[in-house]
Amino acid sequence: MQVDVFRKRRNNALIFFGVLALLTAGAIVVTQYDVEKGFTSLGKAFVWGAANLYPDVKSLAKLPDILAKLRDTVLISVAATSAAAVFSLALALAGSRATRIHRSFTLVARGIASFFRNMPLVAWAMVLMLAFSQSSLTGFLALFMGSFGFLTRAFMETIDEVGDSSVEALKATGAAYLHTIFQAVLPSSLPQIVSWLLFMIETNIRDATLVGFLTGTGIGFSFDVYYKAFNYHAASLVVVVTVLTVLIMETVSNTVRRMIL
């Protein structure tokens, strides 16, 4: 009996890796991907990158310009995330098991969250560009939409996880709906909520770079301009600065997380 369990597990693993190998092979055949060329060109790309994509002394002159753009990007990301968080929290409270006013709210909230989350950020940016043309507002709104969907889902899970035991207790004392939200649900889930918020800000700074390509704003636009002008040194400086910013944000948010937990 026990032996069977082990054999079954081993067979499952074999089947899993077999299917994976089959899928890979199939994909290679269908897309006519040249494996050998793929690996060799990867090497070439690295060689080219090492030769060209590094910030040199001359590019440092562009640093003040880049930093100004970076500031725009960071501020837009933070603004979009925090604005989205307010709306997400309201929707999440309406949709969570413990705090919903009616059963049907859960489905509606999940639906809205899914729609906003699953629409790609770039698609949001393209659509919004039709209405607001190339501007910071477009970037802000694109990030806002994506964050709104993601945060709603994350907040709902957080509130569900905290559970309804203390909500039940407060209800039983005669507390009103808003009392249970502010005295039980929010105090219990706040650390997790802040944690998600910080994570979203980090992600949005990264994504804002991409959105900036399209909307012509912020750090993404700087990269685009330098890259298209064959100024690879300045373009790489943009990348370095962006990576550093994300790393700093990560450190800051980790510190904040430790403090509130």
Partner: protein, 264 residues
Amino acid sequence: MTLLELKNVTKHYSPAVAPALADISFSVNEGEFISVIGPSGSGKTTLLRTINRMVELSGGEITFAGVSISRLRKSELRKLRSKIGMIFQHYNLVDRMSVIENVLHGRLGHKSTLAGILGSYTLAEKEQALRIIQMLGLDEYINKRCDQLSGGQKQRVGIARALVQNPKLILCDEPIASLDPSSAKIIMDYLKNISRDLGITLLVSLHQVDIALKYSDRVIGVNRGTIVFDGKPDELTRERVSEIYGFDAGDLMINLGESEGYAS
């Protein structure tokens, strides 16, 4: 004087399954300490929760302090609940908040929306909370977060939260089911004191028959949503216990006490 009266109370969670409560009727006098015993899933928890309408009735009528509870509007329901304390098996505290804050949550039923949201309590309310905390021997933990307390301490916070409501009745839903024997004894002793000294009526669901016999003035036995025993502890014979649990009392390792001569 009758404080609480249940008449033909029924509860169906779903039409497909047997009712959780079927035609339950009994009345409770002021100051009584009543234990509700019965196997898991027999309807003890549902029974307790229908009284403060945490579970809505399917049929029948409940009267508390002369008020029929089934048709109360929202604000009237809040008022009703503020007069009924509740204690839970898993304490149901807000773990990240301090003892004093959790105890003061018992006052929320009396608060305006804004005051409750902001958690602003009057000096009198704080003093009352402090007195109750001292009474339950929790003074040294007053500013501790509840997730740092032991199970027995958490349940005492739960009792304090119920007491600060100035309730006429406290519903205790398996208050000692998650506690070790010594903590359980401490909690039961506090409940007994509350009943005796403060004259608060207690309805306690329990799994331990011997504890029910030792502490209560009256025992109600529930099986499959109906009352199969309602009487004084010394009327609870071996036969009645097996009726409640569907097993012989001896097989259940229940000691009904030497005086009845059932212990072997």
